[in-house]
């Protein structure tokens, strides 16, 4: 029993509503093909396009796909975001995050409504006589709480962890600042002063500066602070550009997937005999490939 020719074969991309398939393919890469029952191709689009997209996001530490607040002026849509939005829903969330980020309530915090306890990474920084000696990398847990007992609210807390691998515990008070909750990047900047101990030099002051995790729903595709973008360019260098390239290419590739969901494969099934330049004989007998792909021959 021979394989069915291209003419006899089912054309799954025509059996379902092509508009629905196209919209689904745009929203989630591969979804339109799953809807049409084209599981193998759907899987390729789903894994490859979303893999490139989220791989780029991870490479760029989550601050890669975003749209900066436009103030209602759609001429300010970034071309990079336009390209990335080809991936569909995962990118379009950036427009919702942009709205959340530009809300007046989303601002840096200088006092806390609720106590926080979070893993901290950062540095112990000194000023004054002990500038170089005691500074170092901090890793551990930070606990902070704002008390409103006095005339002014004061944020106090404690850091427990290690400094350059050695155990350390620091009492914190004042100088508190926590980055705004909704912003790009999966880390949220925090800083606070270290309490001055009686045996320290009067001019010696210490503070900690670092970051705690930001909630995924607040970080995903939210517009990052310019300082963070600058920091990422400085730390990651070419890798940050590569991260943007990954997400952009994912967006462009999904355009091919959407086209395939609506119109079918550009060259046909792939097993048609190669068509020679048209001859009188061939004109009398239309080739199977010509039915599937009238204008293009498979390569």
């Amino acid at each position: 029993m021979s394989a069915p020719s291209s003419v006899e074969r089912r054309r799954p991309w025509e059996e379902k509503n092509t508009v629905v398939a196209g919209v689904l393919a745009f929203l989630i890469p591969g979804l339109g093909h799953f809807y049409q029952g084209r599981m193998f191709k759907g899987l390729i689009y789903f894994v490859c396009i979303l893999g490139a997209y989220f791989g780029g996001m991870r490479l760029g530490e989550g601050a890669v796909v975003y749209q900066s607040p436009m103030g209602g002026n759609f001429k300010k849509v970034s071309l990079t975001f336009l390209g990335q939005s080809g991936v569909g829903l995962p990118s379009l969330i950036a427009l919702y995050q942009m709205k959340r980020a530009e809300a007046p309530a989303n601002r840096d915090l200088y006092e806390l409504n609720e106590p926080i306890s979070a893993p901290f990474q950062g540095r112990l920084i000194a000023s004054g006589p002990a500038k170089e000696e005691g500074a170092g990398e901090l890793v551990g847990q930070i606990e902070l709480k704002t008390s409103r007992d006095g005339s002014l609210p004061e944020t106090r807390g404690i850091f427990k962890g290690t400094k350059d691998g050695e155990p350390i515990e620091l009492e914190l008070s004042g100088g508190f600042k926590l980055d705004r909750p909704i912003s790009g990047g999966f880390r949220r900047g925090v800083e606070a002063h270290v309490v001055h101990s009686p045996d320290q030099h009067p001019n010696e002051a210490w503070h900690i500066r670092g970051s705690i995790p930001r909630r995924f729903v607040d970080a995903f595709n939210a517009p990052p602070d310019p300082a963070l973008v600058q920091d990422l360019h400085g730390r990651l260098g070419k890798f940050y550009d590569l991260a943007i390239a990954f997400t952009l290419i994912a967006g462009f590739l999904n355009v091919l997937a959407i086209w395939d969901a609506i119109e079918g494969p550009a060259y046909g099934w792939g097993d048609e005999p190669a068509t020679a330049p048209s001859t009188p004989e061939r004109n009398d007998q239309p080739a199977a490939a010509a039915v599937v792909a009238p204008s293009k021959a498979p390569q």
């Binding site: 191709k41 390729i44 490139a52 260098g237 091919l256 390569q299």
Partner: protein
């Protein structure tokens, strides 16, 4: 320091391999319907992309000798 930078360049180059694989697979899937044709065409396209990149890399490496 120059060695570190050279190492970073190599690492960036490795990231282009999965990118080339993704582009090859998606492009081939958009051209054909049969899984075996998609895979064979994607393998050929991947080899072409990597081969071209390697050739360009070799030419640039040759001209940068002694710099």
């Amino acid at each position: 320091m120059p060695n570190l930078l050279a190492l970073a360049d190599v690492t960036v180059t490795w990231y282009l391999l999965p990118l080339a694989a993704v582009i090859s697979l998606v492009y081939s899937a958009s051209r054909f319907e049969l899984p075996e044709k998609i895979l064979s065409r994607a393998a050929r396209l991947f080899a072409q992309i990597v081969g071209t990149m390697a050739a360009v890399f070799a030419v640039l490496w040759y001209f940068s000798l002694g710099m």
